[in-house]
């Protein structure tokens, strides 16, 4: 087992605890925006796709990378935008939208 893997596992385990801690504080009122918003965050694979798509040689991996960029960008842009649209609808009594 390499040291890099050990660090990755550390990060994974600690992130799980952070995740449980913060997600369990999200009220049911906001569970749909939570899903779409966190979904957008999982589009972080975009980072990996970008590297694959930009390698330069016109091989299979560049093509796969480009499709990956398309998929992940749909995920990211669609997710954040629709979450913003939804959260803009949540208003308190006075009718003012949340900031």
């Amino acid at each position: 087992m390499t040291e890099t893997l050990m660090i990755s596992i550390y990060v994974f385990v600690l992130a799980t605890f952070v995740g449980v801690e913060i997600i369990s504080k999200v009220p049911p009122l906001l569970h749909t925006p939570l899903m779409s918003g966190s979904n957008a965050i999982s589009g972080i694979t975009l980072v990996g796709s970008l590297i694959a798509a930009g390698e330069g040689h016109a091989g299979v991996s560049v093509f796969l990378g480009m499709i990956g960029v398309i998929f992940a960008t749909i995920n990211v842009v669609g997710g954040f935008k629709v979450t913003d649209r939804m959260l803009g609808m949540f208003k308190k009594d006075g009718g003012k939208p949340a900031k």
Partner: protein, 466 residues
């Protein structure tokens, strides 16, 4: 990885965590989402400065196409179609993970031609996570496709069952893992990965088709979790911490929501995934017992409501199907103008995904401080004059409290029956998804108003304006 890039990824990770943290209150949630988007922007810009990237053509093409499609979807989607949208996004996330994992394998192989193997020694852990990344990513991709098709009505939402289904799924999973093992032993065998992708694609389909429409909230949440896990796996393959952190956060979020949905339906995850509940739903429509109910007209209900002091509204998905949210809010406003206290009681499974009903009502301009969770409001029903049930059924069925033979038994329900008067606005006496007749409808203090929710409420609003 250079220092500047690492720091940028760290900042992005912090943005994601802060963003999710701000989702804990509706007053800060929108800002939280912007933090998340900002984190993503930082991560993307930092990545683009990476020296490995030498050609931007494909990147720009991909960003424009993907961004355009994503934006179009986000702007045009109806709030009732939110579950499909999230399902689709899960799928794209999973698909992207699969593509990245496979592209990374090709890069590692040292040659753009798959059949030529020029790689040096590859770490065992990269190979193992590669297999898992492909597996989870592809299952998420095709599973989400099926979930989308069911929710969108392209596929029938009833469970598709065939014999030895569970055994087949298990077989596919085991076969994929064995092939994965063979691949780890000899990573030049690229076709093994293609077979694994193919098998995972089948597994995604066969594991989602037996799940009925009513259980889709659970499936969507679970696939949300998978898409996060797939991203985390990609992080392991690339030794990239921001991917691991972001993916893991989403993975835990999906699991927590899955658990909440299961608890709210009083079902175990295994039961949701394998039992095929709802298979006989279509057939059971006419089985309601021939008992008498007292039918009332909107005039009767208007009179009762005008003379009440407190009303709790219980919206169900039937409300959204009838597109009656806006007119319901009209009725609410008319009642509140008369000094009557009106609140909404939201059951966790109201709607087609976690929190869905809140979004549908928020869209109809219902202020969110009127929307109360089950635990917040359940004790108040006994001091309430009227509980007004619109398009909901199973979530107010008292059989859940005591009838041990009922599929609903043990499910937490809203105490609608504790109010002094119960009003039910419903199309017919058909039982809900669980197929359990609702005795509340036959109670002496229950006023049944049959008809389309929108028509009834429009009528009611008209009467209350007088």
């Amino acid at each position: 990885m250079n220092i500047a890039l690492s720091i940028a990824y760290l900042v992005a990770s912090v943005c994601f965590i802060l963003g999710l943290k701000l989702l804990s209150s509706p007053t800060t949630a929108r800002r939280g989402n912007i933090y998340g988007a900002l984190g993503m922007l930082i991560a993307v810009i930092a990545t683009l400065t990476d020296r490995q990237i030498v050609d931007f053509t494909y990147i720009i093409v991909g960003l424009i196409i993907g961004g355009g499609i994503g934006l179009l979807m986000a702007v045009r989607v109806e709030m009732t179609s939110m579950p499909q949208m999230v399902g689709l996004l899960n799928g794209f996330g999973g698909g992207a993970s699969t593509l990245v994992a496979f592209a990374e394998y090709i890069r590692l192989s040292g040659s753009a031609d798959l059949t030529v193997w020029q790689a040096g020694p590859i770490n065992l852990d990269v190979l193992i996570t590669l297999v898992f990344g492909l597996l989870i990513g592809t299952v998420t991709f095709t599973g989400s496709g099926v979930a989308f098709a069911k929710l969108q009505g392209i596929m029938k939402s009833a469970p598709v069952l065939f014999s030895f289904q569970k055994q087949l799924n298990l077989l596919i999973l085991v076969a994929s893992l064995i092939l994965g093992g063979l691949f780890v032993v000899d990573p030049s065998q690229w076709y093994l990965l293609l077979i694994i992708i193919g098998l995972s694609a089948i597994l995604g389909v066969t594991s989602v088709i037996p799940i009925g429409g009513a259980d889709m909230p659970v499936v969507i949440s679970l696939l949300n979790s998978y898409s996060g896990l797939a991203a985390a796996m990609t992080g392991f393959i690339l030794s990239n911490n921001v991917l691991i952190i972001a993916g893991t956060l989403v993975g835990t979020s999906g699991i927590i929501l899955t658990q909440i949905m299961c608890t709210a339906m009083n079902r175990s995850l295994a039961n949701v995934l394998f039992a095929g509940v709802g298979a006989d739903y279509e057939a059971s429509e006419e089985t309601a017992e021939q008992r008498t109910v007292i039918r009332y007209t909107p005039e009767d209900t208007a009179y009762m409501l005008e003379n009440a002091q407190s009303v709790i509204i219980i919206p169900g998905y039937g409300l959204a199907v009838a597109q009656a949210q806006h007119i319901l809010h009209e009725v609410t406003k008319l009642l509140m103008e008369r000094g009557i206290s009106v609140r909404y009681a939201i059951h966790p499974v109201a709607g087609r995904m976690p929190g869905h009903m809140n979004v549908l009502l928020a869209e109809a301009n219902v202020p969110y401080d009127l929307l109360l969770e089950m635990d917040q409001i359940n004790d108040d029903f006994q001091n309430t004059d009227i509980s007004l049930i619109i398009g909901a059924n199973d979530v107010v069925n008292p059989a859940a409290r005591y009838k041990k033979s009922s599929p609903l038994y043990g499910m937490p329900i809203l105490n609608a029956d504790k109010a002094r008067t119960v009003m039910v606005c419903k199309r017919s006496l058909n039982p809900g998804f669980a197929g359990e007749d609702n005795e509340l409808f036959y109670d002496k203090k229950t006023m049944m108003v049959f008809g389309d929710a929108k028509a009834t409420l429009t009528n009611l609003a008209h009467l209350l304006k007088k």
